[in-house]
């Protein structure tokens, strides 16, 4: 679009702006908005960006395309009145306990009310009962009483993350944002990425605060409190405190954390190096065998939950490596057990993460040993910043200190894990180390940047590695759908839930927009540049860890400590229903009949009854362990029955006799089937 718009008497050239609002902002007028974000679709609900357009009257500028010759006035009587009235109306309906609100001083509603000079709320306090707060999960808190219904979280979750756990329900002043059927976030398909928190203008969506737990551990004399700090945190801290560069911010943070009382301060980037070694080894093995490709990265817990929920058929493709946070957790507890003779519960591991899903990840049952978590508490970068402020520490003035060894030493490859493309680049650096001899650093700039979908082909020796780097789960959805249909082929895919990677995680301080992410990303690559080493395999302490503790990469011990498994979350989380009494003999053959909706409708319940009856008649009932179970994800061939490890489809009640005689009875008589231990 060519031409000019006159904004409050000033001529402004129209560039590539999509709407009048952006042209107005370019002219130097910061027209406020709640519901407009350039990455999301135009919503037009907050009525803050209205202006008078000559010949058209009052228009929302966010949805008006700029046209040559437009004459716009932003501060007419009506425009100011509408903005102030909208704010007053929002405030009248807002549970304004600002001083104790998690978002205090970071709240857009607070800021704009102050800016627009709204000094009085003339409407009756409704004295309505407050709606319940949803703090069901580890990561996020949703307080509907503070929601202004701008819909930012709804569109973020749907458009950028491709999930849509939040939407509007109810009409008129009963309208509210809620998960389906008023459920808690824990009960729905939320992956806890926290992008909704990053975009929420008020205290309606906040990070679940664990600061008090951590203080309690610090004050508990019986515990050794160890903290690990994730790569992306350093960039956020630097920006927040006006410190030049991520490395310096990190070094000052080390000082601060020690002064607060943490016993050891380590860098998650060390664990990232370890992850790189494990994951690259795994990848090269898969390339060798041609199996389970493409390999997906598994560092991002939001992505892992997304895959478990929506793409369980790809679970095998996920790298079995634990995320760096969890590798660190299990390693440190093992290490301190050996070196310091401390029990698992005596070591209290805190991690500081840019992420809200990490709080969920730490609670996964896979990451607990004897009921004790590998990582005891996860703080977001926001919370660490709050703790520093709470302690009265002036971070910018503190002297830098270095991390504790051995787990405080990292290569540049570990640091760039915090940006989208970082994991892929770290793996490539390791894999390419033998093949490239031309320089000190091995840079793969083609995978860097905030774009949600990046592709590259890298020549490694005689092999071409096709890789994709995705961020924003809607991009993951797009690519996975194509993979399912066989429209695309890759060897390795890095997926991070948040746009731009962990630097834009839901736990990062606000603003957490694309501009902030761009700055943080550049800081991380600067941090990489100043490291002496850039290939994870060169990290001397990683090598040492293998020699003293872990053995070989992907070896037995490494597998036990550094790898994990995943599960389908596609269906209801129902435990199996035990149908036969547990007897002393544990050599029973498990026979599971699916009674999920699809199988049930095709008669699986009758099949189950027939099979148990037949077993009694044949006198083999005590050798079989019948279970009613839910969904093997093979609904097309329902009803499904699993004997041992094999799922048999199409076992209708009519076929039950034939199936029993051929398969079940045979197995019972043989007393053996393939059962995974």
């Amino acid at each position: 679009m060519e031409g000019f718009v006159t904004v409050d008497g000033v001529k402004v050239a129209i560039g590539d702006e999509k709407n009048l609002l952006e042209v107005i902002r370019k002219s130097g007028v910061d027209l406020p908005t709640f519901c407009y974000h350039s990455d999301l679709s135009v919503y037009g609900a907050c009525r803050m960006c209205i202006a008078e357009v000559e010949g058209r009257g009052i228009q929302p500028t966010c949805s008006t395309p700029p046209e040559d010759g437009m004459v716009v006035k932003t501060n007419t009587e009506a425009a100011l009145r509408i903005r102030r009235m909208s704010l007053e109306l929002m405030l009248a309906n807002h549970h304004g306990n600002c001083q104790t609100c998690e978002k205090n001083t970071h709240c857009r509603l607070q800021e704009l009310a102050e800016r627009m000079g709204v000094k009085e709320i003339r409407f009756e306090d409704p004295k309505e009962e407050l709606l319940p707060i949803d703090d069901s999960n580890e990561s996020l808190v949703r307080d509907p009483n503070k929601c202004i219904l701008c819909g930012d979280c709804v569109r973020m979750c749907k458009e950028v993350q491709g999930i849509g756990v939040l939407d509007f329900a109810g009409r008129g002043s009963d309208a509210r944002v809620t998960p389906a059927f008023g459920k808690d976030l824990k009960q729905v398909e939320c992956v806890f990425c926290g992008q909704c928190v990053s975009i929420c203008p008020t205290g309606a969506l906040t990070v679940k605060n664990k600061i008090d737990d951590v203080w309690a551990a610090i004050h508990d004399k019986s515990k050794k409190v160890v903290v690990q700090i994730a790569p992306a945190v350093r960039a956020a801290v630097a920006l927040e405190f006006g410190i030049h560069g991520g490395e310096e911010a990190m070094a000052k943070s080390v000082t601060a954390l020690r002064r607060m009382g943490f016993d050891k301060v380590y860098d998650t980037s060390f664990a990232a190096d370890l992850t790189t070694v494990e994951e690259a080894t795994e990848f090269l093995t898969r390339v060798e065998s041609g199996e389970k490709l493409p390999q997906f990265t598994s560092c991002c817990p939001a992505w892992v939950k997304f895959a478990e929920q929506f793409y369980p058929d790809f679970i095998g493709n996920l790298s079995s490596c634990k995320s760096p946070q969890q590798m660190f957790g299990s390693l440190i507890k093992e290490y301190m057990g050996e070196h310091d003779s401390l029990g698992r519960e005596e070591v209290y591991v805190v991690s500081v993460m840019p992420c809200t899903a990490k709080k969920f990840e730490a609670k996964r049952r896979e990451f607990m040993v004897d009921g004790v978590q590998d990582v005891d508490a996860v703080l977001s970068s926001q919370e660490m910043i709050k703790m520093i402020r709470m302690s009265g520490l002036n971070l910018a003035m503190l002297p830098p200190e270095s991390m504790d060894l051995p787990f405080g030493f990292k290569t540049g490859a570990g640091v760039i894990f915090g940006a989208s493309g970082g994991v892929a680049e770290a793996v490539l650096r390791l894999a390419a180390a033998g093949t490239r001899t031309d320089g000190r650093t091995l840079e793969f700039k083609e995978v860097r940047g905030l774009e949600g979908l990046k592709e590259a082909s890298i020549q490694l020796g005689d092999k071409t590695i096709r890789l994709a780097v995705l961020s924003g789960l809607s991009n993951a959805r797009t690519v996975l759908e194509k993979l399912r249909k066989g429209e695309v082929e890759y060897d390795i895919i890095e997926i991070m839930a948040c746009r731009g990677g962990c630097i834009g995680g839901g736990g990062q301080p606000l603003p957490n927009d694309m501009e902030a992410r761009e700055t943080r990303k550049n800081m991380l690559y600067d941090c990489d540049a100043v490291q002496p080493l850039h290939n994870a395999a060169d990290n001397p302490y990683v090598k040492e860890a293998y020699t003293s503790m872990l053995g070989k990469p992907n070896g037995k011990v490494a597998h036990k400590l550094l790898h994990t498994s995943y599960r389908s979350r596609r269906r209801i989380q129902g435990e199996q229903v035990e149908l036969t009494e547990v007897s002393e003999v544990d050599e029973k053959i498990p026979v599971s009949v699916c009674v999920g909706t699809n199988c049930y409708l095709k008669g699986s319940y009758d099949t189950l009854n027939k099979l148990t009856e037949l077993a009694k008649q044949a006198g083999v009932a005590d050798k079989l362990d019948f279970k009613a179970t839910f969904c093997f994800e093979k609904c097309k061939q329902s009803p499904n029955v699993r004997v041992g490890d094999t799922v048999y489809g199409g076992i209708t009640p009519e076929k039950a006799v034939e199936f029993f005689n051929q398969t079940v009875k045979a197995a019972a008589e043989k007393g053996k089937v393939a059962v995974k231990k």
Binding site: R81, M90, R122, I148, L149
Partner: protein
């Protein structure tokens, strides 16, 4: 009805018309029972059954199919659409003599058959009688009808909506045949543009211009959407058209599809109109069978399909972008425009959205030409408009008058004045989005621009007449309660503004209002009007603003003088006992649910004003009219 053969040319359509017309006109008496929702609810099916039985008892040869060969004394019996005069239903019409019976019961059937059907006599006691006792036997003589001009409703109430041939006999689908075989799409658009037809759903946007925009957009797929989500309280114009003459709507949509290059249409009709939906479904099936709808219409090259989408009850889905979202299966919420549906509508494709009455005008315009259409109405508001008149009026029902007819003519000539004998106070025009008109507007012509000039709107055509006993603050509160409930909750001003306006209005009618409340109410109202996202929000304050304009003194009386001038608002009522009239029977004290009445038997009782909950039980209990309000 016998099946309609597939028509393969305009010629065959003309032949079917001639054949049907001949069958209808061969000395056959048609008895039509009103099949509109009002009469159906009032017992029309029983009347029809009784007539059928009476005819059989009388040995009449009843034709069940229009095309059956006519024999001596043959008569057809069936449902018609709504003739509009709902006040006097169930209605039975006898054609061709056009005798119009009102308040018909099943017991009247035998007499109707014996006297009217067999002998052509009028049953005097069943015809409409006005207040002076004057009787009117024929429809067109009735005061309710004689000043109306029926274009859209012309065939409503005469034809049988369940028989496509009845519509064809009235030149139905002739416009379609002429359009697709004899006119270019451009010619149709310019004819509609020339006619001056404007949207009948509320906004009054020129239909021809809307079509022209959509026609010009290049797209392989375009849609026609009919907005039949008529939701204003008391309005049933579109319902009656769909129930009484569904083919007129279909024909209008098909012509529109041809004009803009669309091959698919949706009718978004509220689920609360089950009869309309059933009749539309029948009409679509018959039109498809007759090859007037579907692939290769009349064996030409144009194809058009129509689907029905039932709404789920949200008023806001009458807003076109919310309606489109609802068809797409999304939450019915308006979105900002641009982009307009003409560029990006249903499923993102260019779409024309018009309401039922607008589409139903189209075949008439194509058939009779733009000049004919412009002969009705005013220079800027051509044609006629259907209004639903209701409230404190003698003749409630559906009327159609030329645009520009004065309010006075509608209320007093056609509507028969006020029902209660009270004097006229105001009308609310345009439903909850509309405004009130008062005595000073009685000579105001009802057309788009005149109404706009006084801050009102035609809206969809609802007219609620109110007499002097109406409290205008309460009227504003009533409509605000409606829009507050029906706001989608998307934009701040509408969601929160309607809530707060309602709260203030409740305070005022509840006796707790202040003068400051009135100015705050006005400030919110003006701001919600200026700044809301969609039409619902922009017009929601209209009832408040217009009552504030014309009846500010009533607001002030509530908050300053502490009384409701109309005597309607409960909180301002006081109940007391007239000591002179009270006989001391103690009945009121016994009936009082809160024991607010006390006294000695045989001496006057007293009401404790603090305890009184103003339920009125004492008024009903007193046999001596001693309780004074």
């Amino acid at each position: 009805m016998s099946p309609v053969a597939k028509l393969t040319s305009p010629q065959e359509l003309a032949e079917l018309k001639a054949k049907t017309l001949a069958a209808i006109e061969t000395g056959c008496t048609r008895v039509m029972v009103c099949g509109g929702t009002g009469c159906m609810a009032n017992g029309a099916p029983k009347v029809l059954a009784a007539l059928e039985k009476a005819m059989a008892d009388a040995g009449l040869n009843v034709k069940v199919d229009l095309l059956d060969e006519a024999k001596d004394e043959s008569v057809t019996l069936g449902y018609s659409g709504c003739p509009g005069f709902c006040q006097v239903g169930p209605i039975v019409r006898i054609l061709p003599s056009d005798i119009f019976y009102v308040y018909v019961t099943p017991e009247d059937a035998a007499e109707i058959v014996e006297k009217t059907v067999k002998n052509g006599e009028v049953v005097e006691r069943l015809v409409f009688t006005d207040d002076e006792g004057v009787k009117y036997a024929k429809r067109n003589e009735l005061p309710f009808y004689r000043d109306q001009v029926n274009v859209v409703l012309a065939d409503c109430g005469i034809i049988e909506p369940g028989d496509i041939r009845d519509y064809i006999a009235k030149d139905g689908y002739r416009s379609l045949a002429e359009a697709i075989f004899g006119m270019t799409p451009e010619a149709i658009v310019s004819e509609v543009m020339e006619s001056g037809l404007r949207g009948r759903g509320g906004g009054g946007f020129p239909t021809g211009r809307k079509w022209a925009f959509t026609q010009k957009v290049q797209s392989a797929k375009k849609y026609i959407v009919c907005n039949a989500d008529e939701g204003d309280p008391g309005a049933f114009m579109d319902e009656s058209i769909m129930e009484g003459n569904p083919h007129a709507l279909l024909e209008g949509m098909i012509i529109a599809g041809y004009a803009i290059g669309a091959d698919e249409g949706y009718i978004y009709v509220r689920a609360e109109y089950p009869l309309a939906i059933a009749r539309l479904k029948t009409a679509i099936a018959q039109a498809e069978a007759a090859n007037l709808l579907g692939d290769k219409i009349l064996s030409g090259s144009f194809s058009f399909h129509i689907k029905i989408k039932e709404g789920a009850g949200a008023f806001v889905c009458g807003e076109e972008t919310a309606l489109i979202a609802s068809i797409e299966g999304k939450r019915g919420m308006p979105r900002p425009k641009p982009p307009f549906p003409a560029n990006s509508g249903l499923w993102g494709k260019p779409t024309v959205v018009n309401n039922v009455e607008t589409f139903a005008n189209v075949p008439k315009i194509i058939l009779n030409g733009a000049e004919w259409f412009k002969s009705f109405g005013t220079a800027t508001s051509a044609g006629t408009k259907v209004f639903a008149i209701t409230g404190d009026i003698a003749n409630t029902g559906l009327i159609e008058v030329p645009m520009g007819t004065t309010l006075s003519d509608v209320v007093f000539k056609i509507g028969g004045g006020l029902r209660t004998g009270n004097s006229f106070k105001a009308v609310q025009i345009g439903g909850p989005s509309g405004a009130c008109l008062t005595n000073e507007h009685l000579d105001l012509p009802l057309d788009y621009d005149s109404l706009k000039s006084v801050g009102a709107m035609v809206g969809s055509g609802g007219l609620v007449v109110m007499d002097e006993s109406t409290c205008m603050v309460e009227v504003a509160r009533f409509f605000m309660q409606f829009t507050h409930r029906e706001s989608c909750g998307k934009c701040v001003l509408c969601r929160e503004g309607t809530k707060r306006m309602l709260q203030i209005l409740e305070r005022i009618v509840g006796g707790a209002g202040t003068v400051e409340d009135i100015s705050l109410l006005e400030e919110v109202a003006v701001t919600v009007r200026d700044g809301s996202l969609c039409g619902l929000g922009k017009t929601a304050p209209n009832p408040v603003l217009s009552t504030l304009k014309h009846f500010r003194h009533e607001y002030l009386a509530h908050v300053v003088d502490g009384k409701c001038p109309a005597g309607q608002c409960e909180s301002f009522k006081t109940y007391s006992i007239d000591a002179e009239k009270c006989k001391g029977c103690s009945l009121c004290a016994k009936k009082c649910p809160v024991n607010a009445i006390s006294g000695e038997v045989k001496s006057p009782y007293v009401i404790d004003q603090k305890a009184c909950v103003k339920c009125g039980a004492c008024v009903e209990a007193c046999r001596f009219d001693a309780v004074v309000i």
